[in-house]
Amino acid sequence: MKAFLGIDLGSTTTKAVMMDEAGAILGRGITNSRSNYHLAADIARDEARVDARFTLLDRALEREGETGDEAVQFRKRLLHRFRKVQRLVQLASLREEAVKEAASARLSQYGDGLVPKVREIFEAMERDWRRPKLSVGPSSDFFRDQAAGDYGRLAEKHADRAVPFDALMSVFDKVIIVVENARMDLTFEGNIRVALAECLGGETPERRAKYEAAVAQAADAPLDLVRTIGTGYGRQTLPFAKDDIRSEILCHGLGAHLAFPRTATVLDIGGQDTKAIQVDDRGIVTSFQMNDRCAAGCGRYLGYIADEMNMGVHELGPLALESTRHVKINSTCTVFAGAELRDRLTMGQRREDILAGLHRAIILRAMALLARSGGIADEFTFTGGVANNPAAVKALRQLVVENYGERTLNISPSSIYTGAHGAAEFARRATQDVEA
């Protein structure tokens, strides 16, 4: 099967969308950009490929006539097991590197005690990670977080006078980067059968055969990546040919149109820029505005605010929704964000009220860009990471009505993939143009 890939190399995250010849999305992948766009692009692509195989599995199950609840449950179980198998592959690699590192000359001062302790920690982690209930996300995103949390906790427990906590953490800090940057087989094809074997207990022989057949079809179907188009801030640094690069403005415009075909105006608030885009009825950009060199009021700003408040960035919106009092924030300057926040807390204002004010300030800035780009027409599609923030959406709804009247506001749950989706469609069309 022919496949087309769009990769959106954002400042914070890198997204990939894989598409089939008919334009249907096969799979999506996302990872942190981690200032290494090459690796980020590879990981996002690999993940989109895994996701695509699961889509192929769905299609195969359908062909086998397996569409009922049981099949849905099986699919869910299989995905969960698969993620775990991936995680254990990564953990095994981490363990191998860690033992090597612990035995290295760099840490010889800790004598013979270090290696056994590192082994013990990893054995405990592996036991823990094999537990059936352990929840895991996509392979790239949370491995570091999860490993760091568990390793740190266990290191604290295992540390003693001869092998102190710092020595154990020094091993981890050194090798986690190596493992994160190492290529290992996390593919569907390479790991699905291990996961499948753990999911078939209790099934009837007939159903087992159908599941095995469907998995085999999904794993063995040729997935021929015909063309890749890159977009986003990092696009210049990747070895894409000039013809394989599109501006993210065009990709967001087209991506929003694909998700919501009646889209006329697009607002995208990403990590370090905000874009207001007008598109025609085919998703072709007719006008756009974006912020200048200053990233005030973009996703990164919320990130700083979250750090300053010692919260996760995803907790900000829900907390802001609890606001009862209107607080007016003038500055959306990321550099001054911390100072402004502390000033206001000192003045006795409540966190939720300040946060609601901050969200409104961000949206006010976006409204100015929208006005400059030609206003807000119907329908209006909001994309980018900030579109998942309920307080930002609430402020936007309010300001749209106040300034432009009622508009249909579209937000897709996968809005973060909008740019990559548009890029994939450009890849598909470019190939069709050539073939035509």
Binding site: Y233, Q236, R246, S247, E248, I249, L250, D273, D280, R282, I284, V285, T286, S287, F288, Q289, M290, D292, R293, R372, G374
Partner: protein, 458 residues
């Protein structure tokens, strides 16, 4: 129109002719700064004045040396010194929002007033404050007056708010020339105005102006032999500064014209920092000044994409010749007044829209790109309105980028490149999609005849 002088054929020959005008301009500038550095010992008087609508011929008639602080600031920008000068001015108390030309100039002054050629600049004997289209000029010279304690001659040129320069307005300016500017020059130099000399200079101006206009209009051809913005700023150098009304300027424009004629004959594109441009993919009209500290980088962002600027408003900032204005020895003071009033930033918004829309049509452009600079409200105020209106009238898409004249802190290369590329891709996408509204030019680089195409030799 045809070539006026014999030119050598072939790439080598063309390259040599190209170099001739560049070298000539370099010599002219070097000579001028050397003359300035020796002004005091040679007993020459020095007048500081502004570029838009300047009175250079009048200064030549008094045999004084003009010096343009805006040009110094621009040169400091190109030599990557403006950033430091601006910080120095900010230490002196000028805020971040003050025009960066002013701050660069003040900073340079404090750093020893060394000009672009490394020679020290003389203090002024007179500040000729002809303020046209820019209120900040007045404050700028107010600051310089405190630094130098010299007389100021003030010329107020009325804004063309209603889109025309009336007889009353002309009389108002001429009266000021007679009652304020000329007497002050006479006082400083100790001599009477030499009217014959003024008329002679005005006649020379007009000759050079004809050639400049021919060069700028050569961009109506496909492919355009020049870049009317990045190359254009070099072409306007002599005419908008110390050389208008001199033999040197007449010679420079004659040489330049013959070089462009050769490029035209051979159907060559403009010379860019990356060499000659061979694939004209986009024809753009640009509104607004360039960003001087990143001039080359900025230009390469265009040339790298095959984008050629075929007309620009910035090259009309010193004076505006499109409607046929030329300096006229038969009506010396009146034509100086007309020149002052006609410069681009002294025109109202409807006039600017009209000019830009006409450029899009006559130069068969694919779009209008605005470089909005933070420093200059004379340029920037109303630009989005201009953009929308030109889009509406011409059907070509508009693009908008934001930088600054000489403050390097306001040039974010990644952001500018991103916006420019997005804009060009938007043009490309519109072009490709059948049924999309098209600009008057259709696909660029087709080489087909336009309505006012200049004659091209086979």
């Amino acid at each position: 129109m045809s070539a006026e002088r014999e030119t050598t054929g072939g790439r080598e020959g063309e390259r040599e002719v190209k170099d001739a005008s560049m070298l000539l301009q370099k010599e002219m500038i070097a000579g001028h700064f050397t003359a300035l550095s020796r002004a005091k010992e040679e007993g020459k008087k020095v007048v500081y004045t502004f570029v838009p609508g300047n009175l250079t011929e009048l200064l030549h008639a008094f045999d004084v040396l003009p010096l343009y602080p805006e040009i110094n600031a621009l040169q400091s920008g190109m030599r990557k010194k403006s950033g430091g000068y601006i910080l120095e001015a900010e230490r002196l108390g000028h805020s971040e929002d003050v025009c960066a030309y002013v701050k660069s100039d003040i900073g340079m002054l404090r750093a020893g007033n060394v000009g672009p050629t490394g020679e020290k600049l003389p203090p002024p004997d007179l500040l000729l404050l002809s303020y046209t289209g820019c209120f900040t000029f007045m404050k700028w010279f107010e600051l310089l007056k405190r630094e130098y304690d010299c007389p100021v001659a003030m010329l107020h040129v009325p804004y063309q708010g209603d889109g025309e320069f009336t007889d009353e307005m002309r009389k108002y300016v001429v009266d000021q020339l007679r009652s304020e500017v000329i007497p002050k020059l006479e006082q400083v130099t100790g001599k009477k105005l030499d009217e014959a000399k003024l008329e002679e200079a005005l006649a020379k101006s007009s000759v050079a102006e004809d050639d400049l206009v021919w060069v700028l209009e050569s961009a109506k051809n496909k492919p355009s032999p020049i870049d009317a913005y990045f190359g254009g700023v070099y072409y306007i150098g002599p005419i908008f500064t110390a050389f208008r009304g001199t033999d040197a300027a007449v010679e420079y424009y004659k040489t330049l014209r013959s070089e462009v004629q050769v490029r035209l004959d051979q159907r060559l594109g403009p010379i860019t920092p990356d060499g000659p441009l061979t694939n004209e993919r986009y024809r753009l009209v640009v509104e607004g000044p360039p960003s001087w500290p990143s001039f080359q980088e900025f230009w390469k962002m265009f040339s790298g994409e095959g984008a050629v600027v075929v007309a620009s408003s910035y090259t009309k900032v010193g004076g505006f010749y499109d409607h046929g204005f030329r300096h006229d020895p038969k009506r010396p003071l009146e034509s100086l007044a007309d020149y002052c009033a006609g410069c681009y930033t002294n025109l109202n918004l409807p006039s600017r829209i009209e000019i830009l829309a006409r450029y899009v049509r006559e130069y068969q452009a694919d779009g209008l790109l605005i470089n909005s600079v933070k420093s200059c409200n004379s340029f920037s105020a109303g630009q989005l309105m201009i953009l929308r209106e030109v889009e509406e009238r011409t059907g070509v898409p508009g693009g908008f980028i934001e930088t600054d004249l000489v403050d390097p802190r306001y040039f974010s290369a990644a952001n500018v490149k991103n916006r420019l590329e997005s804009y060009l891709q938007m043009i490309e996408q519109k072009r490709k999609s059948p049924g999309a509204p098209r600009g008057p030019s259709g696909a660029a680089g087709g080489g087909s005849s336009g309505p006012r195409r200049l004659e091209v030799l086979p």
